[in-house]
Amino acid sequence: MKRHVLAALGLATAFAVPAHAEDPVRVGLLLPFSGVYAALGNDIEAGFDLGLETFAPDSGFEVIREDTEVKPPVALAKTRKLILQDKVDVIAGVVSSGVLGAVRDAVHGAGVPLIVANAGNDDATGSACSPWITRMSFSNGQVNRPMGQWLHDQGITRVFTLAPDYAGGRQMIGGFVEGFTAAGGEIAGQEFTPFQKTQDFGPYLAKAKASGAQAVYVFYAGSEAISFVKQYDSFGMKAELPLYGSGFLTSPLYVNAEGPAAAGVVTALHYVPTIDTEENRAFVTAFEARTGRLPSEYAVQGYDSARALVEAAATGARGRAGLGEALRQVQFTGPRGQTSIDPATNNIVQPIYVYETVQGDDGMTQKILAELPARPDAANGCEMAPVAN
């Protein structure tokens, strides 16, 4: 009577008959549709749907969406449901690193490919990497590291850093500090603010001002980013202490809520909607037509995740192991430029754009200052094995 989970899973994959090409690929879309990251989940889903429509117009994909509520236990229960009950071939999504940590062992143990469409935890493609987990978004260090060298090249040698006090914030700042000190820069001071509990950044801003730094480098996202940018501006600090940061600070998703306060802030990110390429123009037009707003980096992550899936399936690969292996070979030129998967870590390799937020004709827009070349992350203890049963 008892069915052993792992044994059952082993059997399921062992007996998996190569499916007919007409059988739809079953995709579990695991995103937060409620909770603090609902806006991100919605943007990724819109991008993902657009990607499937664009690259696989005759469908061939069946999407089952599940809400993680940004709660790791809920996400894990939903993941098990997708794997065991819905018998999906592949899972895409995952916004928060906490959720990624919770589902990591489940997908790794069950042998189900997971396309990470946001969560940037360095360890997921480092010490905790898995051949089953392919990241189409970014890693926290990757986005910030090149900015260290770039900032030093602009003649800035002393920087004060600020970020929320959680693993993601520490990794983002860690990546920047690594790049900046390697280039010869000096950190004047660092503060980590209580995550999602800080209403007033005033005390930290005064400390930054008193530190004798030439510039401030920060990571904030979502509503914290809006509060931070506005308060930074209201203290009039932009003139004497220019504000730099990780590009999530001035994401298109909420830069208009920041308004003129964001003008002049220079940040780095793997995507901005003003990248001047044919692929990006097509994507922006299609996304705007669909949602009425400009695509954010989250939208492009969803879009490229869908494209990676379509391209993996187009090689004729079917089933969990087949798709998992094919996903690792995917490379294409998309809205954010030439992207590929690093075989050593399964993390995406992509260019990083340094951009300044400027006042546009209708609302704030992004002026690209530099395109920093794509560099794979160091393996950080990742020992990648081939996808195996």
Partner: protein, 289 residues
């Protein structure tokens, strides 16, 4: 740490600003408690509603229109809540009322998401208050000074109304002993209604004031709820002095905690709350002895 006096003055102003924002929020909650003996957990949701209304109105008609309309709109919500829920719950005990307002949090959260979406909004500062003012040798944002001033004005106005007017005396009588007040011919039911709506309007005002400082997001009400509760419990429930004292304690501990002991910043205030409750189980300035 720096010995520059300007730095410490700046931090003191920061602490005052946070205190006054919390004071605007907690005074409504604490007076409602003092009179009606229940904690309105949906107070944070009213604050969020005020911020959303202010953001929407100010996008069309400017900041000042938002600042006036937001408290009015939230007071109307208060009227509806009182008529629809609170009045019928008058006799069912504080626990039931707390739970109804807990349910309201869920409802309000999803309603704001349905109406305004998941993406955070913001409202612009009024041009009049955009710059900075030189105070004793340091530049301080004018808007923050405005928040401090508004908090002090509201405090003074409430102190006058509660201490010097007839309605204030009636409210104090109601807080002290509502049954006795009713015997003396005070229409306690109407008093409850007025105080409840006033408390809601103040929450709306706090939301409107916070909107240009912070971001306006669906979970802002939930985020501010715990600090507000801490303020009124430290201060002692039901009293004006308690609300101002609690706000100042919270504002200064948070600000100077962040400056002097950043590693402890988030644990410090909870430790202080626990300590105060152990030493004085009813807070610093309870309304009743």
């Amino acid at each position: 740490m720096t010995t520059d006096p300007g730095f410490w003055l700046l931090q003191t102003l920061n602490a005052l600003q946070l205190s006054m924002l919390l004071f605007l929020l907690s005074i409504g909650l604490t007076v409602i408690f003092g009179l009606m003996h229940f904690v309105n957990l949906a107070h944070g949701a009213l604050y969020a509603a005020g911020a959303y209304v202010a953001a929407s109105v100010s996008a069309v008609a400017g900041f000042w229109a938002g600042l006036v309309l937001a408290p009015l709109a939230v007071a109307v919500i208060g009227v509806l809540l009182y008529g629809g829920l609170i009045r019928r719950m008058r006799r069912s005990g504080p626990m039931a009322q707390v739970l109804v307002t807990f349910g309201l949090i869920f409802v309000a959260l999803d309603l704001t998401r349905l109406i305004w979406g998941d993406i955070a909004l913001a409202s612009a500062m009024p041009p009049l208050l955009e710059g900075r003012l030189s105070v004793l040798g340091i530049d301080y944002p004018l808007y923050r000074l405005f928040v401090i001033g508004l908090g002090l004005v509201v405090f003074a106005a409430l102190a006058f109304v509660l201490g010097r007017t007839q309605i204030g005396a009636m409210i104090r009588a109601g807080v002290d002993n509502d049954a006795m007040a009713a015997c003396l011919g005070i229409n306690v039911e109407r008093l409850f209604f007025i105080v409840f709506c006033l408390g809601c309007a103040l929450a709306g005002l706090a939301g409107a004031v916070a909107a240009p400082l912070l971001s306006v997001s669906p979970d802002m009400g939930l985020q501010i709820l715990i600090p507000t509760l801490i303020v009124i419990v430290i201060g002692g429930l039901g009293s004006l002095q308690g609300a101002i004292a609690g706000s100042l304690v919270y504002g200064f501990v948070q600000t100077f905690g962040a400056v002097l002991a950043p590693g402890l910043a988030s644990v410090l205030i909870y430790g202080l709350l626990a300590a105060i409750l152990v030493i004085r189980p009813t807070g610093l300035f309870p309304a009743k002895g």
